[in-house]
Symmetry: C2
Subunit: 511 residues, 2 copies
């Protein structure tokens, strides 16, 4: 929460409703990203408490990400009193218009007596499978007027609660595709990536030869621990097209058809190969895991033994330069079982994640909507949701600067988070994209808009300024020592990993 | 600018159009607040360059403030390519919906050939008196397609350019009110607070006894230097009502009728006293300065000598505790002539500003729309606009944390800004408001949502982490020494003024 005057009654109520846990954030984008992180882990909504239109405005970028991750999130947004609304006061704005940009459900309470009913309705709306952003706008005077009774709220959706089964025709059609012998792929999304769905997909791969791919922008992936690994479609369209090349059929399971992140000159946005048919095994609203189980039975693959991903861990990168690859090797060897990895490493992410297939079991919370500033707040929310698991935030220095206030909440709440800042001191991804969009060579003044050095950000001081212990690593050995120590302690710690220039260019080229 | 992939062609163009000055900000709210600060000083638009819906989302809070200050601001917002728009890509969103929340003018370019024409139109729209936020959305592919010719753009509005004169009846009606002998007030806003308007108002006060008040939320006030001072209506409605009490007539000059910031239980929002008639001398679109001149002539006050505000400076607060009052006295004595003061000191502001009537001439850029996080970005924009003037940002520790990334841009651009952080380590204003809204005593858990200590923010480290020199003052003498040194040097410097608890309570009570 980041409340203002119009939300003071909610704050006062905290001492009367001990079941509520209130977490203060110093910027609203931390609230909304944390609610997203909580929802990705718990599959039930956390609520933000925000102040009027501009407070909601600050939360929108991470609400956009929550929307794309289909995270259930409830926003409670204060509004001026009903008397005050007719005047053009400084903070007057069209709060509903702010809300509609990201919300699947928007309501303004119309009578104080409806408060309980509306509260239950917004929680239900957020939790309806597959989950959405739902916003309730509350005029301040209803908070100090006699309100109605609390209303019963159905339990929010859990991943294993009863959901709509896909129709038998969908199963039969997919089975006939897999039996045809033509090259086929499964594209998994949503809840199919959380565990059981992956197991069934692994059996289908082993039993039928289907290629198993994952929608890159799903909210959460169960990874490591020798589990079957679906291939996440790469970020750049050339690599994504290569992963899909040759398929005659693509079967969607809780996923939309694949599309490139951006459009580029002379290139299609649609990643489905020409001549490839698209089938839907389970829509986003349907139960894809159940559909995969039924499909495996239909294809007689339900009892096939499916090999997991490689489990031989790479050696720790002792003596190496501090590159994304070295960080990936270090994490693979040092991450504790059951970690949660919030990843917004942008240009360094691919090289790091490539090494983590052999890590102990962990949950990956990746970029979902591409609005920058997601990684640190999502780590906050995941740590609040799962206090018994170690949370690791892999964050780029550029993207970390959109919501650095997250560090203060980590310190305030003593959240068990290790923040790794990948410091290349560039908007490296833009350097790559500038070439791709045909904008040409990066000349002097253009370069200044991509270079976030001069002055260099000092993340150790930034973290300490917000009460978080911090250290800087400039070699792989320093990183190994600092990360090993961080795993053993509890509470937040930040490691600024300063990547070296020569290696960066190599990492970029290798994409 | 805070560009992304869809704006790379704009960045590349910088080296071909040397007339453009590009300033990189690490968060979009800094861009929009800086554009507001630039506009308040120059009365012509600066442009932001923002990335898609979420990038614009991050800019909305400070665009809300710009809207309320009636600052001309142009937003250039990239959109996906026209081909890409039909897909639900991660960053797809309704950019126009984001834009409409704060913009008086929103256009999406429809054909590449219209680029020049649309660019001229958006600048014209922003600059039309009294100024507004105007947003142009540009599909990325139009930036790499053959575009039309640049179009001629009328000069943006300047405060002294020809504007609509109020009709003679307005002047005559106001004059007859002033001649009636009944208690009357002038409420000034907009451009009447910039200099000449104040002089005419001073003559009217001296010649007719009219009380001269100022709309608290106007974008810019000419202050100090012995000028006639209009009474800014206070923040809290009780004090504002006291300032207006007894008036039988209130004459608006480029201002809306006065309204309280928030609505409170059992209290009117409208600040106009019962039985007081409201008259319009000049609407917000009309030329209020010309109207004041004409009114002064009509009332035979045009050559009256008008006394300025007190010019005896208070003594420097040597040996004093570090209170808002002591900071006000120090600033009054140490601020250089022609300074620009960006003020978002929230609970400490009143006590500081009260002391500045005797300061050398300066421009005050106050909170206009109440969206928190304005002060530091506005200081950035004012310093870019006026490199030969010293900019001082008076910023609360709570509000400073919404856009702390401003400090990096100050360092990058070597802007001549002294940032004074008023560190009370509380959302002090909320503590006051909690009582006012009838939410009751601040009990334990409610207090945690208002207390921004635990951990204390270390603004010296935060500033140094972004490349800005910084120091901490805990006594008035330390503050005097640090501020005196800062005035003599060029380039950004931050002083964290740690206010003491006992004095804070006193300052709050005195409101």
């Amino acid at each position: 929460m980041n409340p203002g005057t119009s939300e003071m009654q909610f704050v006062a109520a905290l001492d009367r409703v001990p079941e509520m846990r209130a977490v203060l954030c110093l910027f609203e984008g931390v609230c909304s990203g944390a609610a997203d992180g909580y929802a990705r882990m718990m599959r039930r909504p956390a609520a933000t408490l925000l102040h009027l239109g501009p407070g909601l405005g600050n939360a929108l970028a991470n609400l956009h990400n929550a929307r794309k991750a289909r995270s259930p999130v409830v926003n409670i947004v204060g509004q001026h009193t009903t008397q005050h609304l007719r005047y053009d006061a400084p903070l007057s704005s069209d709060v509903e218009a702010f809300a509609r940009t990201v919300s699947g459900y928007v309501r303004t309470v119309e009578r104080a007596a409806d408060m309980g009913k509306e509260a239950a309705a917004v929680i239900r709306a957020a939790g309806a499978w597959p989950g959405q952003v739902a916003t309730l706008i509350v005029p301040a005077d209803f908070s100090w007027s006699e309100a109605g009774q609390p209303a019963a709220c159905e339990p929010a959706c859990e991943p294993n609660q009863a959901r709509v089964r896909p129709p038998p025709e969908s199963i039969r059609r997919a089975a006939s595709v897999l039996r045809s012998g033509e090259p086929a792929g499964l594209l998994l999304g949503g809840s199919t990536l959380l565990g059981a769905g992956l197991e069934w997909a692994g059996k289908l791969a082993a039993g039928t030869g289907v290629k198993v791919l994952a929608n890159r922008y799903s909210g959460r992936f169960a990874c490591g621990g020798g589990r079957f690994a679906a291939l996440r479609l790469p970020y750049f369209p050339e690599a994504a097209e290569a992963a899909l090349a040759g398929l005659k059929h693509l079967i969607l399971v809780e996923s939309q058809p694949p599309v490139s992140f951006f459009g580029y000159p002379g290139r299609r946005s649609d990643l489905v190969p020409e001549g490839c048919s698209v089938h839907v095994l389970a829509s986003i609203e349907e139960d894809g895991t159940e559909a995969l189980r039924a499909l495996a039975e239909e294809c007689e693959a339900a009892s096939v033994w499916a090999p997991g991903s490689e489990s031989s861990q790479p050696a720790l990168p002792s003596g190496a330069a501090l590159t994304p690859d070295a960080i990936g090797r270090a994490l693979a060897g040092l991450m504790p079982e059951g970690a949660i990895l919030s990843e917004e490493a942008v240009s360094s992410g691919e090289a790091i994640l490539r090494r983590l297939s052999s890590a102990p079991a962990f949950d990956l919370l990746p970029v979902s909507g591409g609005a920058i500033g997601q990684g640190l707040p999502v780590a906050v929310g995941a740590a609040v949701a799962c206090p018994d698991r170690k949370v690791i935030a892999l964050e780029a220095d550029g993207s970390g600067m959109y919501t650095p206030q997250s560090l203060w909440t980590m310190a305030r709440e003593k959240l068990d988070v290790i923040v790794v800042i990948l410091a290349n001191r560039r908007y490296r991804i833009l350097e790559i994209e500038m070439g791709r969009t045909g904008a040409g060579e990066i000349s002097r003044r253009a370069n200044e808009m991509i270079d976030i050095g001069r002055p260099d950000l000092d993340w150790v001081k930034l973290a300490e300024g917000m009460g978080v212990q911090a250290a800087r690593a400039t070699t792989a050995d320093e990183f190994i020592a600092q990360f090993s120590a961080a795993v053993k302690q509890s509470g937040p710690i930040l490691i600024e990993a300063v990547l070296i220039e020569a290696v960066l260019i190599e990492a970029v080229t290798s994409k």
